[in-house]
């Protein structure tokens, strides 16, 4: 509410300005438009400068997550998990660090993982993180998720014109979005046109700082982000249902009908190369991939194919029968795709063991 008070005061100045401006003489429309654009662009420049000088950043959980990551300043080598809610809910950070560590070596596990983190968004915030990190990670683990790999603009449509989507849509993000749009994986020219319009609209909102001051906060604001805070369990299955879902998922070989058969797609491969290249520029050389167990067979089938297509990297699919045998109860799952409670811990230990066995740690 205090913020509204400031903005109301600013609004009164805008209104005063509106009424005090002289009435332009008629004619010379092009000149009028030119002056309009110059005034607009000059003010945008002024706003950019003011925002930088005041150290304002967009508000929201992603910003807080990045700040949490960049604030890490400890001697322990960092393992960075890059993923979405599958990782956020499926991996116990402390337990993974404990599993990966030993008496000689202590490890820190940090997550660039949050619900609905699309690849476009993760690239944007990965760059933000690398630009400000006090300690660079030594190993980066990328989550495999068919939904995100094959629908990079799904979240943009779901959270259309939200602060979050506008915040990530800078020129670089728009470039990757258009690159996907111009690829072979988008169905129909109508979809392409609609999505192109939405990308441009988000880019425009981002570049013109639309709503930025409303949803911004000083960079040195109090931080209380806790990546360990998880939503309470909401959905319930019977144990028998869970067992049958898990069993069915392991048997699934086909991808979802609307996913491309090339795994990963050319776009996804290019994006991963770009991400790894950016990471290499910051001295990070070790990468691996992992998938979190899912009760949806197409996710498992996708992860399987993904790993086959990435022979040069350590790639771990969460479908080990021994692991799945321990994930047969309702309390092990939050929902179809997300682990919970003991299931989460079981998978984390299993993942840690696999990483150690594959010797990916520096």
């Amino acid at each position: 509410m205090a913020k509204i008070a400031y903005f109301l005061a600013l609004s009164s100045l805008i209104i005063a300005g509106c009424h005090l401006l002289p009435r332009a003489p008629p004619g010379r429309l092009m000149a009028a438009c030119l002056f309009l654009v110059i005034g607009f662009i000059a003010t945008q420049g002024l706003l950019s400068g003011t925002i930088s000088a005041l150290g304002l950043v967009p508000r929201g959980p992603l910003r807080e997550l990045v700040e949490y990551l960049t604030d890490y300043d400890d001697d322990r080598p960092v393992v960075l998990l890059v993923g979405s809610s599958f990782t956020q809910q499926g991996v116990d950070l402390d337990l993974l660090a404990e599993t990966l560590g030993n008496s000689d070596r202590s490890i820190a596990v940090l997550p660039l993982a949050i619900g609905g983190l699309s690849h476009l968004e993760r690239l944007y915030y990965l760059k933000e993180y690398l630009a400000h990190a006090k300690r660079m990670p030594r190993l980066v683990l990328f989550e495999i998720a068919g939904g995100y790999d094959n629908g990079p603009l799904f979240q943009l449509q779901q959270m259309r014109f939200s602060d979050r989507m506008v915040a990530m849509m800078d020129g670089g993000t728009a470039w990757w979005a258009f690159r996907w749009l111009l690829g072979e994986d988008v169905p129909g020219s109508t979809t392409r046109i609609v999505l192109a319009g939405e990308i441009l609209a988000h880019l425009g909102l981002h570049l013109c700082h639309v709503g930025f001051l409303w949803n911004s906060t000083p960079a040195d604001h109090p931080r209380n982000y806790d990546p360990r805070a998880l939503p309470p369990k909401a959905q319930h299955f019977t144990d028998d249902e869970v067992a049958s879902f898990v069993e069915r998922a392991t048997r699934t070989r086909d991808l979802r009908a609307d996913w491309p058969q090339t795994v990963p797609t050319n776009w996804m491969r290019a994006l991963l190369e770009a991400e790894m290249s950016t990471l290499r520029e910051h001295g990070i050389e070790r990468f691996a991939f992992y998938s979190v167990p899912s009760m949806q067979g197409d996710n498992v089938a996708y992860a399987r194919r993904f790993c086959m297509a990435m022979p040069d990297f350590t790639c771990i699919v969460g479908e080990d029968p021994q692991l799945l045998a321990g994930l047969q109860r309702d309390i092990d799952w939050y929902d179809f795709d997300h682990l919970h409670g003991e299931g989460r811990r079981l998978y984390t230990r299993w993942l840690g063991d696999r990483l150690l066995a594959q010797d990916v740690l520096p």
Partner: protein, 471 residues
């Protein structure tokens, strides 16, 4: 399609380009008509047929009025208006009538009820039926000639800038414009852009910001203390003005871009010193419509004082009901009707007072403005609340009639009043100075670009629909 949306921006840009590229006036009108139907179909294509039906009714009635005898003309007029009102009554008032009739019968201990129907209220129905009525009545009165071109009538009724929420443009005002060629005028375009941008700042920046104050409180009235209720009421007082005046400015500006002039809809209404003056400044196109098509036919100022009061109350009651089929709108209309009657009585009484007072002095005017605006604000409480009981509770709590514990919010009333005051005082242009011509254009347009950029940065990203879209 909200005016403050990328969809509308794309739609407007495309229609604008095609419109001015077309060489023939008739083709342009067809384009605008088709675009208006497309605009309406974006909400629900099925109701395009309803709008077409209303248009055909008006066109045929206009044609018949020009060719029939006097006695038959009256019949045609009544039939045409009756059809328009029946359409409006069915879609807007049927359930309201059915529910209240059933309740009244139950109170009398009589059996019987009308079935409640799942009726979707077509957006803008109140506006386009009024346009249709205006067209037929103006022909009947001989103020405008019946159109031989169907597209002129279709465009008049459906023209997208005024289709959803007005202004209610009179046939006498717009038809002559439709009949003449409208060349591309740079000054018209400049004015259109200026009005569009000003409307955008009113709506997207200020009204939606005030909605952030008012909406949470009105959504959970029981959770806030009395002072918070007062803040929310003042915020809504500002919100509805900036929202509707902003919409009107954008509508008028959009029409200008196509070469059409719309009448002014707002003239700084919150500086009114009486309810009568308020209705000469607020939603002027509706108040003048009600005056000419309801109040005057009812008898207007003719007859005794009581007859005039009855006419005023009836007109405002109908004006209230026009806004929505609910009792709180009826109360809102009656409050304004009472305000109009009180003002009439006061104007009549003033010369007979035994004291000699200069009622036109700035001091008395200030007092009158304050009382008038408090009255207007009370009316807005009934307008904004979901029920009369809720409105009574809000007003009672603010007046301190009973305790209303709850959460407090930052008292923003002074700031809100300041914004309105700045708008209403500077809006008259009192402080605008003339500057050399060669600087004026750069300062004016560069300044608009600057203010627009600032407005974008402080506006809330999530936009609310225009309040008057629901009517």
């Amino acid at each position: 399609m909200n005016f403050v949306s990328f969809e509308f921006l794309g739609f407007l840009g495309a229609v604008y380009l095609f419109h001015w590229v077309l060489p023939q006036e008739r083709a342009r009108k067809w384009l605008l008509t088709l675009a208006s139907y497309l605009f309406y179909a974006a909400w629900d294509w099925r109701f395009c047929l309803l709008m077409l039906f209303v248009t055909v009714n008006a066109f045929v009635a206009g044609y018949l009025l020009s060719s029939l005898e006097r006695s038959e003309r009256k019949l045609i007029l009544a039939a045409s208006i009756g059809i328009d009102l029946a359409v409006l009554a069915f879609f807007k008032y049927y359930n309201f009538f059915a529910i209240n009739a059933a309740a009244a019968l139950a109170d009398l201990g009589l059996p019987g009820s009308l079935p409640a129907l799942q009726i979707v209220l077509p957006v803008g129905i109140s506006f386009y039926t009024f346009h249709a009525i205006s067209y037929v009545v103006d022909i009947y009165r001989g103020k405008v000639l019946p159109e031989t071109s169907f597209v002129n009538v279709a465009l008049y009724i459906s023209f997208f800038p005024q289709l959803i929420a007005g202004p209610i443009v009179r046939a006498t005002f717009i038809m002559p414009q439709m009949q003449r060629r409208r060349p591309f005028s740079r000054s018209q375009q400049a004015m259109g852009i200026r009005l569009l941008l000003r409307g955008f700042i009113y709506k997207a920046v200020i009204a939606d910001m005030l909605a952030q104050v008012a909406d949470p409180v009105f959504a959970h009235l029981d959770q806030y203390d009395a002072h918070a209720l007062l803040t929310a009421v003042v915020a809504f007082y500002g919100q509805i003005y900036f929202d509707f005046a902003g919409y009107s400015s954008m509508a008028i500006g959009t029409a200008r871009l196509f070469g059409y002039r719309f009448p002014r809809n707002f003239d700084y209404p919150y500086r009114s010193a009486s309810v009568t003056e308020f209705w000469r400044r607020w939603h002027m196109s509706l108040s003048f419509w009600l005056r000419d098509y309801v109040y005057i036919p009812l008898g207007g100022n003719r007859g005794g004082r009581l007859a005039v009061y009855r006419n005023l109350m009836t007109t405002m009651l109908l004006g209230g009901l026009w806004h929505g089929a609910a009792w709180n709108y009826v109360i809102w209309g009656l409050l304004h009707g009472f305000g109009l009657c009180a003002n009439k009585a006061w104007v009549a009484l003033r010369p007979r007072l035994p004291v000699s007072v200069n009622w036109q002095s700035s001091g008395w005017r200030a007092v009158a403005i304050i009382f008038t605006q408090l009255w207007i604000m009370v009316g807005w409480v009934f307008f904004r609340c979901d029920s009369i009981a809720e409105a009574n509770s809000v007003l009672g709590s603010i007046a301190g009639l009973y305790p209303h514990p709850g959460a407090a919010i930052v008292p923003l009333e002074p700031l809100i009043v300041l914004i309105i005051a700045i708008d209403h005082t500077l809006g008259s242009g009192v402080l605008r100075r003339s500057i050399p011509r060669r600087w004026a254009q750069a300062l004016s347009w560069g300044g608009i670009g600057m203010l627009f950029a600032f407005g974008l940065a402080i506006m809330p990203l999530v936009q609310r629909p225009f309040i008057y879209f629901q009517f």
